[in-house]
Every structure is written in C-alpha cells, then in structure tokens.
C-alpha cells in the first residue's frame, strides 16, 4: 500500500466549485464543493460516496477538466493539472460516464475513437476482449447494444486511451443487479491487470464495499470521511459517517456544522 514518501497519483487541495443555478428566473452562484481535499496513491481504488447532490460527479468532471474549479488546485503525479495540456490530461485521466453516451458509429469505432484522434492505430478487438465483449459485436452500431454492453463499450473506449487514472461516474447505476456485479468484477480485474488508479462514484454502499481500498464520504460538497475502506465500513470516524452507513442520510439532509452552503473565500 501507499507509503508516506509516495507522490499521490491524484490529489485535490482545498478545491471549491461554484456553479450558476437558475432560481426564480435569475442565475445565482451556488456552492457545489467546499474546500475538498483528498489524495489517492498509485494503484488504489477510491470510492466517492455520498447522498445525491453531494458533488461527487463534479469532482470527476474537475479531475478530467470538463469544468474548472472556482478555487483550489488539483495535482496529477505532483503536477498541477492546470499547467498540463488539457487534451493530454484527458488521455491520461479517462472517464466513464453514468450513461455511456456512445457516439454514432460501430462498437469498434467507439473504442478506437480516442487513439484515432491522435492518428494512432487501435486494436479494438483487444479492448473489447478486456471488457468481455465478443468480437462479433465490433461491427454493430454501438447504440443498439443492451445497456450493460453499452457500459462495457464505454469502459473499453476509455481503456483504449491507455489512461493512468480511470474516473467512473456511477458505472453500475443503470444496470440490473447481475450486470452491475459483472461490471464490478470487471473493474477489479482490470485494476489488477493494468495497475490502474481508479476513482468510482457510487451511491450503492454494497458496490463500494465490493471494490474500494479507500473511501471518501462527501456530504453537501464537503469531505466528511477520508479513510481506508475497511476502517470506514466497520468503524466510521464521524457521526455523519455512521448515519450514512445506516442509510439515514438522504440528498436533502443538513450538512456538517449546520451550514452546508458555507462559501469558500
């Protein structure tokens, strides 16, 4: 496991995010994340847990730079991601979306999309095998597959970029129990085979328990727990963590300190 001397693979330092929200016909900046800090070591699986609306997906979007933080810094291998070429960053930090949002075209074209942007050859069959998709599916229109298969295409597409970090936004939420279980097994296998560092957003505790090394619990945009998985699931440090595990926290719950919308700066 990680030692003190290792440079974290991915590190958030006091990251805040505000986003305009329409309220009574006017736009107002609403806090989404409040001074979020956490880090994960190379080759770790981190689960971001929390009620819906806690800001989990926003963390992934910031790490992939689909959005910019309002304050704070994010580091990849000790380098501020704001100083990296954004397209190269996105190749290194892959993203799998909740709904796989496949592109027009065949399964093979979807998988090869990333490498082809850089005029690189791509053995789509290899990545299809990796995620357990039969080669006979490669020439099929991607959007005609089942939801579970589409999610696998989404994962294969991200893997074809040979990322170092894989961000997964609720990768199992659109799937039935069996398909979700298969995808979780797949994530564990890939992680072992490829030595990937993985961040998974989920609100299904059972799924987190099945794969996580490390858990960050987010409530109303603030980090409430940041612990090794074993510790979190057996003995959470905070009362909020305990209530979350007991299923008592919902999206509308009051956050820490009674002031969920505390503004950064």
């Amino acid at each position: 496991m990680s030692t003190v001397a290792t440079v974290p693979k991915l590190q958030f330092v006091a990251v805040s995010k505000e986003r305009p929200v329409r309220i009574a016909g006017k736009l107002r900046d609403e806090p989404i994340l409040h001074k979020v800090s956490f880090s994960l070591a190379p080759g770790e699986i981190l689960c971001l847990l929390g009620p819906s609306g806690a800001g989990k997906s926003t963390i992934l979007r910031l790490a992939n730079r689909l959005e910019e933080p309002t304050a704070g810094r994010i580091f990849l291998d000790g380098q501020n991601i704001a100083s990296l070429d954004v397209r190269e960053l996105r190749r290194r930090v892959g993203m799998v979306f909740q709904v796989s949002a496949l592109l027009e075209g065949t399964v093979a074209e979807n998988i090869a999309f990333g490498p082809q942007l850089r005029q690189q050859e791509c053995d789509a069959a290899r990545y299809a095998r990796m995620v357990g998709l039969g080669e006979e599916l490669l020439p099929r229109p991607a959007t005609e597959l089942s939801v579970g298969q589409q999610q696998r295409v989404g994962i294969a597409r991200a893997l074809a970029n040979e990322p170092e970090v894989l961000l997964m936004d609720e990768p199992t939420s659109a799937l039935d129990v069996a398909a979700a279980r298969n995808v979780l097994d797949l994530i564990r296998d890939l992680y072992r085979q490829l030595g990937l560092t993985v961040v998974i957003v989920t609100h299904v505790l059972e799924h987190a328990r099945a794969v996580a090394d490390h858990v960050v619990l987010l409530v109303h945009g603030s980090v409430v727990e940041d612990s090794p998985a074993g510790e979190f699931f057996t003995a959470p440090r905070t009362e909020i963590g305990r209530r979350y595990l007991a299923g008592e926290l919902q999206g509308g719950e009051e956050g820490p300190g009674g002031s969920p919308h505390g503004r950064g700066n």
Binding site: R65, L66, F97, F113, L117
Partner: protein, 282 residues
C-alpha cells in the same frame, strides 16, 4: 431610354389601399383581431419603403463609390444585427461574429458577380451593386442565423456525446463535428430547395421586377441563374464562417462546453452582476 413600364403615382398608391381594406374587412368579419396590426403594418410599409426609395435615389443620383460602400456597410451591419437577434441564449460576441461572416460571404461573392460575371464598369454602379448586394446579404443573413441557431441546439441536445468525446481527448471542433454538420445542413437546405424549384413554383422577385420594367424574359432568366448561383456561394461561405466562429462562443479555449450553453439570456444579467463562472472560463 423611354419609359418601358407604367409609373405609379401617389393617387395610384392611395387606390391600392383598397386592397389592404379588403384584408382588414375579412379580419373583422372573421374576428381575427388583426385589423390594428394590419393598419400598423400598412403605415410601416409606406414609411420604410418610401424612406429607402428616397435614400437609394440619392445614392443613384450621386453615383459615387463611397456612398455605395457606405450603403453596403449599413446593409451588412443591419443583417448582422438581425442574425444576432434571432439567437437564443447569450448574445455576447454574436453581433461581430455574424457581421464578419456575412461580410466575408457577401463581399467575396459580390466581387465575383460584379467584377467577373457581369463586368460592371465602373464597378460601383449602384444600379447593379445595390440590388445584387441586397439579395446576397439577405440570404447570407438567413443562412448564418440558421446555422448558429441549429449548432447551439444540437450541442445542447448532444451534450452527453459531446462531453464524452471531449473527455476522450477530442478538440472542441472534433467533438462538435456532428452538431456542426447538422447546423450547416440546416442553413444550406433552403438554398438547395429553392434551386430545385426555382421558376416552377414561383418566379423570383428580381426576375419579376426585370420583366415588369421591360426586360425580355429570356434575358431576365440569365440574371436569375447568376443570382441563384451567387446565393448558393454566399450562403455556403457565410454559414461556414459563422458556425466555425461560433464554436469559440459555445466552447472554452480549454475544450470545455461553455457554462452559458444551458442558460438563456439571463446569463448576460448574471455576468453583469459579477457571476463567477464567466471569469473562471477566461
């Protein structure tokens, strides 16, 4: 040249008012409640056209290149303004964008038509330049307005796919390619359709005008052919320019969808009141 056509006097115009009277009578009879608007429309038709006639007459009589250029500049700016007004969401930067696109498409096309096809000498003869420019600019305006409108709605509609492509390392332009294609097709379609049916369904205004003022139909159609081709060229150049420039409005330089894409014109108010999302973008 002797008058080849019949002049319309002010008395004749007054008599023609009977025509709109018929329309208003129908409106009242069927309770369409359009009489008032028809009245205003009639007054505006008179004022606007008489004013334009007066101004054009001055330009024609003066016969100076700078007056012609000034007229073109005004026409292009008004077209850019109109194309901007027809857009949803924030309109920041759109006036300049539309005006530049319309300028590029129409000036290039106009130069070819006036300088090479018709060989008008001197080049600025208002009799040719102004009506031809009017047709080109009008079509370029519609094309650029349609293209940008459609581009924006396609980006909203395909947001998930666009962001998936960006997340895989695509540039804004690569991620927007399908939306861009839809925008350009939508903008070119009216022009293509009119080329299919021209002369069969309706006679174009310019050709009709030429025939009334005494031109032989066989000559008038030649002008119309040139007009159709030049409109196709102007629309293509303008829509391309407008749509590609618009990518810079709907994406950030960091290949992200712009935060204002999901909002309407309330975004401008938000920025005025110091909204922060606009700043982190630039």
């Amino acid at each position: 040249m002797a008058d080849a056509y019949i002049h319309i006097t002010f008395l004749d115009l007054a008599i023609a008012l009977v025509l709109v009277g018929v329309a208003m009578a129908i409106s009242r009879w069927q309770r369409l409640d359009l009489e008032r608007d028809m009245g205003i429309g009639t007054v505006r038709t008179f004022i606007q056209l008489l004013a334009v006639g007066l101004i054009l007459q001055q330009i024609f009589d003066a016969d100076r290149w700078y007056w012609v250029l000034l007229a073109l500049a005004v026409m292009i700016s008004v077209a850019g303004w109109n194309a901007m007004k027809r857009q949803a969401g924030t309109r920041r930067g759109l006036f300049l964008l539309m005006t530049i696109a319309i300028f590029l498409g129409s000036v290039l096309t106009l130069a070819i038509v006036v300088g090479v096809v018709l060989r008008v000498r001197p080049w600025y003869q208002p009799q040719y330049v102004i009506p031809i420019a009017g047709m080109i600019i009008g079509n370029a305006m519609n094309g650029s307005a349609l293209a940008v409108n459609r581009l924006r709605s396609e980006l909203q509609l395909r947001r998930a796919q666009v962001e998936a492509a960006l997340a895989l390392g695509a540039s804004s332009r690569q991620a927007a390619a399908p939306a861009l294609r839809e925008g350009l097709r939508a903008a070119m379609m009216p022009t293509v359709n009119s080329m299919m049916t021209v002369g069969l369904v309706q006679l174009p205004g310019m050709m009709t005008g030429q025939i009334i003022s005494g031109a032989r139909p066989a000559d008038a159609v030649r002008y119309q052919i040139v007009v159709m081709l030049m409109i196709a060229a102007a629309t293509a150049i303008t829509t391309m320019s407008a749509a590609f420039q618009a990518l810079r409005i709907y994406f950030t330089p960091q290949h992200q969808l712009a935060p204002h894409l999901e909002f309407g014109s309330e975004w401008d108010e938000y920025l005025r009141q110091g909204g922060r999302a606009g700043k982190s973008v630039l």
